[in-house]
Amino acid sequence: MGFAELWKTYGGDYLVALLTTWQLTAISFVFVMILSVLVTVMRVCPIKPLRVVGDVYVQIFRNIPGVSLLIICVYALPFLKVLLDYRTCVIVTTILLGSAFGSENFMSGINTIGVGQIEAARSLGLTFTQILRKIVIPQALRSAVLPMTNLLIAVMLTTALGSQVPLSPPELTGLVSVINTQVSGGITTFFISALGYALSALAIGYVGNAIDKRVRILR
C-alpha cells in the first residue's frame, strides 16, 4: 500500500489517533504531577509510616512493568468489583507509573539544594513554611524542569499501552495494529505513527529546553 492510498483511507484516523495520544498524555501528566507532589510530600515528611508508604509506592510503580499493571487494572480489578473502562485503565496505569518517576525527580531536585542553604535560612529566622515556600520549592521546581520534560515524553510513550486494549478511537500505536489487521499497510503505517511520536517528543523537548534555559539555577 503506497503512502497516498494509505493516507486517503486512513489519514483522518491517524490525526484522531495523534490527538488521542496527546489527550491521554495530557490528562495523565496532570495527575502524574499532582500525585508526584503528594508522594514526595509523604516521602519527606517527618512521619515515619507515611515516609515508608511513599517509598514503597515509588519502588512498586518504578519497577512494575506497564503491561503487568495494565493487565491487573483491566482483568484483575473487575474480580475485586472495581470496574474501570479501558480508557480509564490506560490512564490510571500511566499515572501510577509516571508518578513514581515524577516523585524521584522532585526528590533529586530537593537533594540538589543542600543542607547548607536550609541552615542559612533557619539562621535568618525563617520559619519552616517560609523555608519551604521561599527556598526549597522554588529550587526543586526549577531544577525539575528538564527531568519533567523527559517524564512528559516518557508518559506519552507509556500511553502506547492503550494499544493493548480495545480503545475507540485507538491511539497511535493501536492504530498501526488496527490497520494492519485490516490490510497489508506496509512499513508506511508504522512510520506515520512513529513520526507522530518522534515529532511530538522533539517539540516537547524543545519547549522543555527553552524553559530550562530561562529558569536554570547556576551552581
Binding site: R62, S68, A198, N209
Partner: protein, 281 residues
C-alpha cells in the same frame, strides 16, 4: 535510596523540640491507623469478593507451578539478555557514529538515536510483528520480541555511553592528542575505557527497562513469564492471584537490578544516568 536522599530529607526538618516531638508522635499514631486501615480494606476486598479462597492460592505451593513459571522466567531472561547485548553493541556503534567527526554520519546517528528514544517500544514490536512479515521475512517469535526491545534500548544506551565519554576530563584528550595520537585512537584507547567503567551502573539500571519491555512478549506469543502466567490462569481459573504474584515477581527482579546498579555506582563513586536525568533532545 541513596545516602544523599536520606540526609537531605532529614535536613528539611530540624531536631524536634518537645512540642514538635509530641505532635510527630500523635500523627505517627494516626497515620499508622490509616495505613493499617488501608491494608485491612484491601485484604477485606479480596475476602468479600472470594479472592482469598484457597483454590486461588494453594497451587502456588506446588512445585509444578513454580517450575512452569521458572521456565517462563528463563524465556524472559533469554530475551532480556539477548536484547541487552544487541542494544549494548548497537548503542555503542550509534554513540561512536554520533561523536565521529564525519558530519553526515553524526547527523544520521543523532536522528536514529532520538528516533528510538522517541518511539514507544510497543510500536517497534508491532513493526516486527505486523509489518515485517508483510515483506515475506519470516522471524521466530523470539526475535520478534528481542529485536524491537533491543532497538528501543539502543537509543538510550547510546546517550548513556555519550554521557560517560563526556564525563572523562577533557585534559586527558588534550594530553593524548599532544602525544601525537589520532582523535579516533584517543577516543577508543584513552576515553572509552574510562567512560565504560563510569557508565556500568547506568547500563545495569537500563536492564530494568529491557526486562519491562519483554513483558509484551505475549503479543508475539513468545513464552516468557507473563505468557506462561496466562496459561496458568486458564488451567487453574485463578486470574487475580496469578497476575498479582507475577507482578510482585517482576517488581522484585527489577528492584534487585536497581539495587545492584546503586551498589555498583556507590562502589565506583559514579552517578547513574537515567532516562529522566539527561537532556531530552
Amino acid at each position: 535510596m541513596s545516602d544523599a536522599t536520606t540526609s537531605m530529607r532529614d535536613a528539611l526538618y530540624e531536631a524536634p523540640g518537645p512540642k514538635t516531638r509530641r505532635r510527630i508522635r500523635f500523627w505517627t499514631f494516626v497515620s499508622l491507623l490509616l495505613v493499617a486501615w488501608g491494608v485491612w480494606a484491601i485484604i477485606r476486598r479480596f475476602y468479600v469478593t472470594g479472592q482469598l479462597s484457597p483454590k486461588y492460592w494453594l497451587f502456588f505451593t506446588r512445585w509444578t507451578t513454580w517450575r512452569f513459571l521458572l521456565q517462563g522466567l528463563m524465556g524472559t531472561i533469554e530475551v532480556a539478555v539477548t536484547s541487552g547485548i544487541i542494544a549494548l553493541v548497537l548503542g555503542l556503534l550509534l554513540m561512536l557514529g554520533r561523536i565521529s567527526s564525519n558530519r553526515v554520519l553524526s547527523a544520521v546517528c543523532h536522528v536514529v538515536i532520538n528516533f528510538f528514544r522517541g518511539v514507544p517500544s510497543l510500536l517497534l514490536i508491532y513493526f516486527f510483528f505486523l509489518v515485517i512479515p508483510q515483506y515475506g521475512i519470516k522471524m521466530s517469535s523470539f526475535w520478534m520480541i528481542a529485536l524491537p526491545v533491543a532497538l528501543a534500548a539502543s537509543g538510550v544506551l547510546a546517550e548513556v555511553f555519550r554521557a560517560g565519554m563526556n564525563a572523562v576530563p577533557r585534559g586527558q584528550t588534550e594530553a593524548a592528542l599532544s602525544l601525537g595520537m589520532s582523535p579516533m585512537h584517543v577516543k577508543l584507547k584513552i576515553v572509552f575505557p574510562q567512560a565504560l567503567r563510569m557508565v556500568i551502573p547506568s547500563l545495569v539500571s537500563q536492564l530494568v527497562v529491557v526486562v519491562k519491555d519483554t513483558t509484551v512478549a505475549y503479543v508475539v506469543s513468545f513464552p516468557d513469564m507473563l505468557q506462561n502466567a496466562r496459561v496458568l490462569i486458564t488451567n487453574y481459573d485463578a486470574l487475580v492471584s496469578t497476575y498479582f504474584v507475577i507482578a510482585i515477581i517482576y517488581i522484585l527482579i527489577n528492584y534487585g537490578i536497581n539495587q545492584l546498579s546503586v551498589y555498583l555506582a556507590r562502589r565506583s563513586g559514579t552517578r547513574i544516568v537515567a532516562r529522566t536525568s539527561e537532556n531530552p533532545m
